[in-house]
Point group: C2
Chain length 378, copies 2
């Protein structure tokens, strides 16, 4: 029998927390960063490198996987873990966010959302029940409720309507999830845009329904970092301390530190791989745009003390050349560098929280990004 | 002091040979397959995977590297081995072949070839002396003479003219190479198209000049496999037994087996990586076009007994999905599978030659490609 899903809080430091999520496929140390494996692959990066970076858990996108190769097909092939050969924890989103961002034609109704597939133009219906069914077929360790996410800025009325609809969908998802395989978890998603009272109402109602964990959705959709952090800071305390808190789609290294300080346990974001493919490396000494001409003869590696081989073994000059020459290896190497950096940032946060020094850790980390910007190395 | 370049014949089996080339950067076991690192990178594949496949030596393209990042820049950065962090043997071609195949505007004269860079449109001159200078700057272990390669079919007069010019350039390259760093080698290139008498004349004249090794160039440029193998079979015996023989730009697994049987020691070809990127895997059971729809639900790996993790760890269904979804990881994984396959083919050839069973090995290998084509697995 699979181990039940559980969350154990190991340490708190102010509002920052560190803990451990147990799933049927292994442990997730929190604060955790989840690399995004949209189409059952982390773009350009081998699973072995993702794992070596320290990732305990991946995110898979329900929207993409239900369209291609199809949830029923993934199930027939043994589920997402077996299909992609990632035997560790996986979280799937509900598909709702991508419907809003990728599908040109879509219609939101009480029943669910109907959209035109961006792949073959077919009309597809995604209801709360189907979102759960798809995630059951994929077999993810953590499933997400279907929600409606509105871009900011938006009218309060529109934000409230989407928040209330998301709550009704949350209830339907909870019912649909009953009888799912043991050991799997379902998270609710707080909506409410940039309105703190709506956020609190959403959180309260979700806690009333009762979920294994709670996400804060509908952020990083056009608002400033200040607005985002205010909402996070106001919403986290409204969520139960004994359940994991997941801030969806966020963010930069600075966003992560600020959100951890406010009590967030889990993150996902495409930034490490997307920026890596475009030539931006995250390092202890701040971001490095490797395409800049001044790297063309720079023999220094990105970080000689990194845990990441690609950050140690190759000169900036060579990485610069790979980008100039259009060699895909450049994007792969920088993606790996960035995945390691994000995991190291989270590992540092966990250790600092355990030691009761998270504020110092965050301050020193940020200082180092800017202090040596001129030379970008010690 | 660097070890001198040397070639040691370890075994012969009919006209097939196995041996060992010693360079300042290590040994090359022959018959050897050299993956092509055109722009100081094997397309889409990490050096670690190239090395793990069993590659003793890489090929770098002088044409590309002289244009970007530039030979002087590579030299300033410590040479090609340090620049790309490949501390093992490297062979560089002379640039002549790419001038012919990539540059729209070019003019061949006695002095050398003038061409328009495909990158920035600049006019560039490549003389025999400059080809050697560039390769000295790159610091490759094995340098190639500049030659003129004509596409087939061609008139005998045109083939002879290019062959004679290549011989005069061979002499100039030999002179220019005097005083190159110890331990480095220079190979001459037999030309003469599909004309056996011209090939023999070219070989005789090159041996008269005296090189550390001899290549057969100007093949795999439009002729049939029969014509190619006839020329190889006729030319190899005209080359000294105590020097390595390199068949340039060839070829398929079948080409390699046939050429090894005729006494060839070294090969380079873009097929394993180019075909890999396009969804074609070379396996013990013949080629597999992973994009074919019948792989969509095929749980079998490409080869459960392969030495290559990618051939064992991922189902054909997953690899198929990666190509259908446009995930670059698919091309990377199949490139790695193919690089392992080519190296294993050469390792098998070396062992078979040592055991005096090369003909059996070649026949059994080819039988296996076709015998199980229906199921593509045992």
């Amino acid at each position: 029998m699979a181990n039940p899903f559980s969350f154990r809080l190991l340490a708190t430091d102010g509002t920052a927390r560190s803990g451990e999520i147990a799933t049927a496929h292994g442990l997730v140390r929190t604060p955790a960063f989840m690399p995004v494996g949209t189409q059952a692959a982390i773009k350009g990066v081998h699973h072995d490198d993702v794992r070596a970076s320290g990732a305990d858990i991946l995110l898979g996108n329900t929207y993409h996987l239900m369209l291609r190769p199809g949830a029923e097909r993934v199930a027939a092939l043994g589920g997402l873990h077996a299909f992609m050969n990632w035997p560790h924890p996986i979280l799937t989103d509900s598909g709702g966010f991508q419907v809003m961002s990728l599908s040109a034609l879509r219609k939101v109704a009480e029943m669910g959302v109907t959209f035109r597939s961006h792949i073959d133009g077919a009309m597809v219906e995604l209801t709360p029940e189907r979102a759960i069914e798809v995630q059951n077929l994929l077999g993810s360790d953590i499933a997400m409720q279907l929600d409606e996410c509105v871009s900011l800025p938006a009218e309060r009325g529109e934000i409230e309507r989407a928040m209330q609809l998301s709550l009704r969908w949350a209830e339907r998802c909870k019912r649909a999830f009953e009888g799912a395989a043991p050991g799997r978890a379902l998270f609710g998603i707080v909506q409410g845009g940039d309105d703190q009272s709506l956020r609190e109402a959403s959180a309260r109602a979700l806690v009333g329904i009762g979920f294994d964990g709670y996400a804060i959705g509908g952020l990083a959709v056009g608002e400033t970092q200040d607005v985002m952090l205010n909402i996070v800071g106001g919403t986290a305390p409204a969520l139960p301390a004994d359940r994991p808190r997941y801030l969806m789609g966020v963010g930069t290294p600075a966003d992560l530190l600020e959100a951890v300080a406010r009590g967030i346990d889990m993150f996902d974001c495409v930034l490490p791989t997307r920026n890596g493919r475009h030539g931006l490396a995250f390092t202890r000494f701040g971001p490095v745009n490797i395409k800049n001409a001044h790297h063309a003869e720079d023999l220094r590696p990105l970080d000689p003390e990194s845990r990441c081989p690609a950050a140690r073994d190759f000169s900036r000059a060579y990485l610069h050349h790979l980008f100039k020459a259009g060699e895909a290896l450049g994007g792969t190497l920088l993606s790996v560098v960035n995945l390691f950096y994000y995991q190291d940032l989270m590992a540092g946060a966990r250790a600092a929280i355990a030691a009761g020094q998270f504020a110092d850790y965050a301050a020193q980390t940020k200082d180092q990004w800017t202090a040596k910007r001129d030379q970008r190395m010690p």
